[in-house]
């Protein structure tokens, strides 16, 4: 069976490309690493790939705002080719900075909806690193197992999802576009630090209407080994590490 071909984008300040490449390999995919400039020069390259991944980091320093400059480059040269990729059955995964970029470039929540959602400064106004528990809230995202609970770290300063008005969160929920939410032991979405940044509706990640475009602030690429879990020395584990399942689900979907 041919391997699933994944394009992993990097540019100045993207810094999670190495582990994302490894995750795709470990999940059985065939990743290729490419500089954003090379793709912008020749967007037709996208035709060779089934999935595009934008890893985390601080693209262009996150100067102006997180992901803003990368998003501008996507919007000006790559928005159409990327939409074409999704239309012919491909997918996009944006992690952390990649999620911020997908939102700011208008690719999420997708389906023509603009200026409804953004990702901005944490309530704490500073960078925070901590492990969170996520609840999968949609049954249409090909990267996620419906109903699953996942543990992985967040590491960001600008991860708070904000919507233009109160109706947006329920609209997104009804459309199955809220992919994952932060959740605490009692099932609440809004308690700090379980919700580490004050995201509205506890939104940690969004998908588009096709379920093939996913962006999320937490890092599945930092939980691809059981030893990544902060309590691995005291807990029993079965099955693959939570983060790796995101990549495995995608490989399974595009292989079939």
């Amino acid at each position: 069976m041919a391997k699933v071909r994944v394009l992993v984008l990097r540019t100045a300040g993207i810094n999670c490309d190495e582990e994302v490449m490894h995750c795709w390999q470990a999940a059985g995919g065939e990743p290729t690493l490419m500089h954003l400039n090379a793709l912008s020069d020749d967007p037709a390259v996208l035709e060779r790939f089934q999935i595009v991944t934008i890893p985390g980091g601080f693209s262009y320093g996150d100067d102006v705002a997180a992901g803003a400059i990368f998003a501008q480059r996507v919007a000006s040269r790559l928005a159409e080719p990327l939409r074409d990729l999704v239309q012919r059955g491909g997918g996009i995964l944006g992690i952390c900075n990649g999620f911020q970029i997908l939102v700011k470039a208008g690719l999420l929540p997708g389906d023509g909806e603009t200026n409804a959602v953004t990702v901005t400064y944490n309530d704490s106004a500073k960078f925070e690193a901590r492990w969170v528990r996520l609840e999968v809230c949609t049954d249409r995202c090909v990267f996620l197992t419906p109903g699953a609970h996942l543990e992985m770290p967040v590491e960001h300063a600008e991860g708070k999802v904000v919507t233009a008005d109160d109706a947006v969160v329920s609209r997104l929920a009804e459309a199955g576009k809220i992919a994952v939410r932060y959740v605490d032991d009692t099932g609440r979405y809004d308690s700090y630090p379980a919700n580490p940044n004050g995201s509205e509706g506890g939104i940690a990640g969004l998908c588009d209407g096709t379920g093939r475009v996913l962006g999320l602030m937490p890092h599945p690429d930092r939980h691809f080994e059981h030893a990544h879990h902060p309590r691995w020395t005291s807990r029993r584990t079965d099955g693959p590490p939570d983060g790796l399942t995101v990549f495995q689900n995608a490989v399974r979907f595009w292989q079939s």
Binding site: E18, D63, V64, I69, T118, A129, H219, T233, S234
Partner: protein, 993 residues
């Protein structure tokens, strides 16, 4: 700056990056338009920055301030119309959902109902956001088909509207103490009766005409030499000045200013470590045993630190003391590079920039190790004064310790996180004597292929400078760090302070690794970082064996008008120097161009042992490499030490012998700043990027303090590395020999606790000392070196690299001393940091310090090195490591400040399990609060505990409560929740009231 026959030339007066009295807007012709865009949060609830600032304002005693609203400003100069600016604001500069913006003409027109403070960068200070914004705006105009609109420059500023301030003095205080640092920033107050005019154009940097300067040194007498050394910021000793004078007398010419500067940089304490390498006659207490001895060291460093490594002669030490970092073997294919540096003086004056460029410089050391190591982890250790220090006692120009701590944490955070390098280990140590001299230690660990460890430039190789451009930033960093600080230094050395640009360094790293791993082989023959001394040190060191010719006219500049001397010694950040064989040059430049990193040929390595520097074809310096590197006169100094048997190291800690005080005593021990949780700091660092983390800085369900970090450098191997550190300045007040032994012991203990192979641990030494100007201060240094040597040899821990920073002292006028009630000279305690790097044979056998299972036994493994000697202590470390390796230990924790009670309390806090502890006088003779060396607490199954031979002192309980008794007397009985609260509270948001 050097007194010369042409003392009136403009070049003599450049201290600030741009001098005062600039010509404003001289180059802005009539067609240039000026605009500003103001961006603010759409709702108060989204103004986290404003809330953060408000909290800081209330911290400095202005509790009545009601609110602060923040906004960002972009000042834009170019040829563009309002609709162009509106497009930029809408599509790029402001977030459409969370922010609102206004566009206005000119730079300065804005009116607020509330009084406002606006903060701008000083001209010439690095502003990465402004550079990114300019490039992105240019691109946005092209993308929108508005190519006729152009942008010359963008600057950014911040504006704060303040509600509730009582007059302009308070606004000024808020600006000075919270919002801005005068070294790099300036502010304007508008409202409350003030309306500071905001300049309506960008200043133009001064363009200094070329004029070759010679320094008439040959006729100078001793007094004049001494005066020149200080006033020209050379900071050389009289003997060194005499050596230079006599050398030029023999040459029958005067040096150029550039030659003199090059000598000063190369001979600075910072670059050459002349105190540690000097010959010393020592007389005083013997080392580690009673009695008095006399000893002679021809080169202190070589005969202690370096000798330990020579004696141990480990084949896994691949590169020691010869490169920018030390390298040990990881496996057959890879080595691990490790280096730790300090950046103390810049961090005293501008904590954020100082710490950021500190970590940036240490990362470049690892990039400049061999042909380049890939950084995989960083460490940070800070020594600062307590954050609740009384602000009224603060000397003039000294920043409050809370601000210092917040600044350095933010600096390390913003640089390290942007580089994508996890910050995995560190500590903070508090002592009032670090008030004016905070210590900022930054470490970096890199992964390097073993066939890329050795390097050497060849004659004919091109000298290529790559990365950031050269500007007037960081002039005199090397000599600045070799002088003591005074209350005028903030003014005098503002130019030595810099702001880093992490993304510049990240792209430089990306490009370098592509050139290193090029399919045609490594494209360069040598590389080093541009650190202290700038090009003068980098080229001077690389060409030491060959000679070099440099044309300064080719060096890319941030702005026109630098003198040749400024170009040569500027310490502008994010630059590396490469030696590139001519046949590889095109390929090398192509790799860098594809990564959008500037790389420029500035000269050639020659073969005649001479350093020739030209500026636009004119010779501006010609130095014999032999004199430059070996001409430094060698001195012999005398050192003494006499035991201080009654010395009381710290009077702010309750004496440990006392066990009374009940549970409150334990709670207050947990709230000691040196023990309290550093979670506030740790969570601001990305400690997991790159996916290599195995043991994190915070472990267990409730985030307890890990003793060391473990990483897996290769994704497909279960072999790991561990990183720890040892630091105990309080012991140095009594005997520096013991301080060094215990610091080495602690550095080893930390990595043993997580499962390190104790036969494969390398260490680094970082000395931070006050002025070494008395026989006794030198004696303390000698004893520290010998203690470090003796412990390293006994434990089998080779030193692989090190660094020293002397002159960490602050002096103020008698008047100021009287006002503050502080001594006129504040010297830091003698401080030795030992960093440890160990190999973990199999990370699946790692253990963490959180308790695992009720019913298990707690045993104490103890053999204090200062009482039982190094050999017995060594045996204990090996025994504990053996038990962990055999998987008999479920949790291990190092006993340190606060003793056994605090160690077990931390294990409870981490796991939210309880423990019942009962010590008899035989098990643990000291107080349960006594911090003792060479002591571990281990959790083991009861049967394994018994077999281990170590005394069991308690058991793990499912009830989250800690009880401790001695000989049936209950000392402590407290819920783990309370322990956690006491431990977390003091530094929950950076300390302070």
């Amino acid at each position: 700056m050097v007194p010369t026959e042409d003392a009136d030339t403009p070049g003599c007066e450049i201290f600030r990056q741009f001098p005062s009295g600039l010509d404003m807007g001289q180059n802005n012709d009539a067609a240039t338009t000026h605009w500003h865009v103001r961006v603010r949060p759409k709702a108060a609830q989204l103004d986290g920055h404003g809330r953060d600032v408000l909290a800081d304002v209330r911290q400095i005693g202005l509790e009545h301030i009601e609110g602060i609203r923040s906004s960002r400003l972009y000042l834009i100069a170019g040829r563009l119309g309002e609709s162009d600016v509106d497009l930029l604001a809408r599509d790029l500069l402001a977030d459409p959902v969370a922010e609102v913006y206004t566009v206005g003409p000119g730079f300065s027109e804005r009116v607020d109902e509330l009084p406002a403070i606006e903060v701008h960068r000083q001209p010439g200070v690095m502003n990465p956001v402004a550079i990114s914004a300019r490039d992105a705006c240019r691109r946005a105009l092209v993308a929108a088909d508005r190519a006729e609109a152009t942008i010359d420059e963008i600057q950014t500023a911040r504006r704060y509207e303040v509600a509730g301030a009582k007059g302009v003095d308070e606004l000024d205080r808020i600006a000075r103490r919270v919002l801005a640092n005068e070294c790099i920033e300036t502010w304007y107050i508008q409202g409350s009766g003030r309306s500071d005019p905001i300049p309506d154009a960008f200043p133009t940097p001064p363009n200094l005409p070329f004029k070759l300067q010679h320094v008439a040194i040959r006729e100078l007498d001793d007094a004049a030499l001494t005066k020149m050394s200080r006033e020209a910021h050379l900071f050389l000793s009289l003997e060194e000045m005499q050596t230079i004078r006599d050398y030029y007398a023999r040459l029958k010419r005067d040096p150029t200013d550039l030659e003199l500067e090059t000598l000063a940089q190369t001979w600075s304490e910072h670059c050459v470590h002349k105190t540690l390498k000097s010959a010393i006659d020592y007389r005083g207490d013997d080392f580690g045993k009673p009695g008095v001895i006399e000893a002679r060291f021809d080169n202190l460093l070589k005969e202690t630190i370096v000798q330990a490594t020579d004696t141990l002669d480990r084949d896994w030490c691949l590169s020691v003391f010869v490169d920018n970092a030390g390298v040990i073997a990881f496996d057959d294919e890879y080595g691990i590079a490790f280096k730790a540096e300090t950046h103390n003086h810049p961090s005293a004056i501008e904590p954020y920039g100082g710490a950021a460029t500190g970590i940036g410089g240490c990362i470049r050391d690892v990039m400049g190790c061999g042909l380049g190591a890939k950084p995989i982890a960083s460490t940070d250790v800070f020594c600062v004064a307590p954050p609740d220090f009384d602000a009224k006692k603060l000397p003039k120009d000294v920043l409050h310790p809370r601000r210092v701590l917040k600044g350095i944490v933010s600096g390390v955070r913003d640089y390290g996180n942007r580089m994508g390098i996890p910050t995995v280990n560190g500590t903070i140590y508090f002592d009032e004597r670090y008030l004016a001299n905070p210590l900022v230690f930054c470490g970096c660990v890199g992964l390097i292929p073993r066939d890329r460890i050795h390097k050497a430039p060849n004659t004919g190789d091109r000298i290529v400078v790559a990365g950031g451009r050269t500007g007037r930033d960081g002039i005199h960093g090397a000599t600045f760090s070799s002088a003591e600080l005074t209350d005028t230094h903030a003014d005098e050395f503002a130019h030595a302070v810099q702001i880093g640009n992490a993304i510049q360094e990240k792209t430089l790293l990306d490009a370098q690794l592509l050139a290193r791993d090029h399919p045609d082989g490594c494209l360069y023959s040598s590389v080093t970082d541009c650190g202290a001394g700038g090009l003068s040190s980098a080229v001077g060191e690389m060409g030491e064996e060959l000679g070099a010719e440099v044309e300064l006219g080719t060096v890319p500049l941030k702005y026109a008008g630098l003198t040749y001397e400024e170009i040569w010694i500027s310490e502008a950040q994010e630059r590396m120097v490469f030696a590139v064989p001519p046949e590889n040059l095109d390929k090398f430049l192509a790799v860098f161009a594809a990564e959008e990193v500037e790389a420029t040929v500035i000269g050639t390595f020659s073969d005649d042992g001479t350093l020739r520097v030209r500026y636009n074809q004119q010779t501006v310096g010609e130095l014999d490499m032999a004199f430059l590197h070996h001409g430094l006169p060698k001195t012999t100094r005398t050192a003494t030490w006499e035991a201080k048997r009654d010395a009381s190291p710290r009077n702010d800690i309750p004496r440990s012998e006392d066990e009374t005080g009940g549970s409150d005593r334990l709670l207050s021990a947990l709230s000691e700043l040196n023990t309290a949780s550093k979670e506030w700091v740790i969570r601001q660092y990305d400690h997991e990027v790159q996916g290599r983390s195995v043991v994190k800085p915070l472990v267990g369900a409730m985030a307890g303090p890990s003793d060391a970090a473990v990483l897996r450098p290769l994704y497909d191997s279960s072999r790991g590395i561990s990183i720890g550190c040892g630091l105990c300045p309080e012991l140095g007040d009594v005997d520096p020999y013991n301080m060094a032994v215990v610091a080495v012991d602690e550095a080893l203990r930390n990595v043993v606790c997580v499962g390190t192979n104790p036969e494969k641990v390398a260490i680094l030494d970082n000395f931070c000392w006050p002025k070494v100007d008395t026989e006794e201060s030198l004696g303390a240094l000698v004893r520290t070196c010998r203690g470090a040597h003796d412990a390293a040899v006994a434990y089998g821990l080779p030193f692989v690299s090190g660094k020293d920073s002397l002159n960490n002292e602050y002096s103020m006028s008698e008047e100021e001393a009287k006002r503050t009630g502080l001594p006129a000279r504040i010297a830091i305690p003698n401080t030795l940091l030992i960093s440890s790097l160990g190999i973990v044979d199999d990370v699946s056998r790692c253990v963490t310090m959180d308790l695992k299972e009720p019913g298990n036994a707690l045993v104490v493994a103890s053999c204090p090195v200062d009482r039982h000697g190094l050999d017995k202590a060594h045996a204990l470390h090996r025994k504990v490591a053996g038990l962990i390796d055999a998987k008999l230990v479920r949790a291990a924790h190092d006993v340190s400040d606060g003793g056994l009670a605090v160690a077990i309390a931390e294990m409870c806090i981490a796991s939210n399990l309880g423990a019942s502890v009962a010590v008899g006088s035989d098990d643990y003779g000291d107080s349960i609060y006594a911090g003792v060396a060479t002591t571990y607490v281990l959790e083991m199954k009861p049967s394994d505990a018994e077999a281990s031979g170590f005394p069991a002192v308690g058991r793990v309980e499912s009830d989250a409560r800690l009880t401790v008794s001695r000989d049936a007397t209950e000392l402590v009985n407290v819920p783990v929740d309370d322990l956690g609260r006491a431990w977390r509270k003091p530094l929950a948001s950076g300390g302070g009231r």
